[in-house]
């Protein structure tokens, strides 16, 4: 890429991360404590996830996943790559196969971010948990998603832990033929 084009590319991918940063800053102003901000980020992420799934399915044309392992692979290798340009690794499966970790060597959301001292319990990237939860709910999976490690808080990597709770039955409208 010529130098001009490269600079233009940088500009574009920073729009999301800078916007996200401005949002977190605003939430920290609006809410009194980190827990509340974490909750709001999760809620907003959920609202995004329930709509993002349609965009994802349209772009990726992946079929229905046969099992949770396949879901994990699709999330890591297709979804994360498509939207965030990274491919986390899938590891630490529970023996029952209902829980796994996504390990992110780098987290694009935190590119220019440092947590100030008085926000030690802020889960900066919590939006991601909500997005994953909302998206999977739309494909009939109830999951629990949370950060197990966070590079912003001093861990070496960022680890998202995903646990399958149960299958959601599809609700047919009353009186459907």
């Amino acid at each position: 890429l010529c130098r001009e084009c490269k600079r233009l590319t940088i500009l574009n991918s920073e729009l999301f991360t800078l916007t996200y940063g401005a949002l977190v800053t605003q939430l920290c102003k609006d809410y009194e404590n980190d827990e509340e901000v974490n909750k709001q980020l999760d809620k907003m992420g959920y609202n995004i996830g329930v709509r993002l799934i349609e965009d994802f399915l349209a772009r990726s044309s992946v079929g229905r996943c046969q099992d949770f392992r396949e879901t994990a692979d699709v999330i890591a290798k297709v979804a994360f790559k498509m939207y965030l340009g990274i491919t986390p690794s899938v590891t630490n499966w529970s023996p029952a196969g209902d829980e796994f970790s996504l390990i992110l060597e780098s987290n694009p959301l935190v590119d220019f971010v440092e947590l100030p001292d008085n926000h030690s319990t802020l889960v900066y990237s919590n939006l991601l948990c909500g997005v994953l939860r909302g998206a999977l709910e739309m494909v009939q999976m109830a999951v629990d998603v949370k950060f197990a490690q966070d590079s912003l808080r001093g861990d070496n990597v960022t680890e998202i832990r995903m646990k399958f709770i149960k299958r959601i039955e599809e609700n047919l409208p009353a009186g459907d033929e």
Binding site: R7, L8, I10, L11, N12, S13, E14, L15, F16, L18, T19, Y20, G21, A22, L23, T25, Q26, D30, Q40, M44, N47, I48, R51, L52, D55, R59, K81, M82, Y83, L84, G85, F112, L127
Partner: protein, 161 residues
């Protein structure tokens, strides 16, 4: 990479969140202005940040018109995925940038139905433009109006010192 879609989803949710929160806290009239200024303020800081990284080692611009052309082309392409369709100026510090298919409005229905809602979806972008121009040495006021959906006009008025 589809990160421009991520920004659009995030933007819609941000607008929705800010208005929901203000609605649950009190009177609507006063809060509408607060919502707009919160969104505009966020956009302003991001606009400053974006421009800073882009023009770090660029040659400086010849004049205000040169800057506005940059905003209409390079900046708009990178932020809103297309160029400005029409730029007009009175050569006395006022510029009107017309985008016939503004990317943050296309998700809303076309036509008159959501006309009243549209300003919410323009506040952040006005801030982006104002922030970008501010870092390029142009202090201005940026407003926007829908005309009609999904077309909109951004008006930039340079503030005399």
């Amino acid at each position: 990479m589809a990160d421009d879609v991520l920004f659009e989803f995030l933007h819609m949710e941000m607008v929705s969140h800010i208005y929901k929160e203000q609605a649950s806290r009190g009177e609507m009239d006063k809060d509408r202005a607060t919502c707009v200024s919160a969104l505009e303020g966020m956009g302003f800081r991001v606009g400053q940040g974006l421009i800073e990284r882009f023009t770090k080692d660029s040659p400086s611009f010849k004049d205000d018109l040169d800057i506005m052309k940059f905003i209409c082309k390079d900046f708009w392409i990178n932020v809103f995925r297309k160029q400005i369709d029409n730029l007009r100026t009175n050569h006395q510090g006022t510029y009107v940038l017309q985008d016939n298919k503004f990317s943050l409005l296309t998700q809303l229905s076309s036509g008159k139905q959501y006309l009243e809602e549209a300003p919410k979806y323009l506040a952040y972008s006005c801030g982006l433009v104002r922030g970008a121009l501010s870092n390029l040495g142009m202090d201005c006021v940026v407003t926007a109006e829908v005309s009609p959906m999904p077309s909109c006009k951004f008006q930039v008025v340079i503030q005399k010192i």
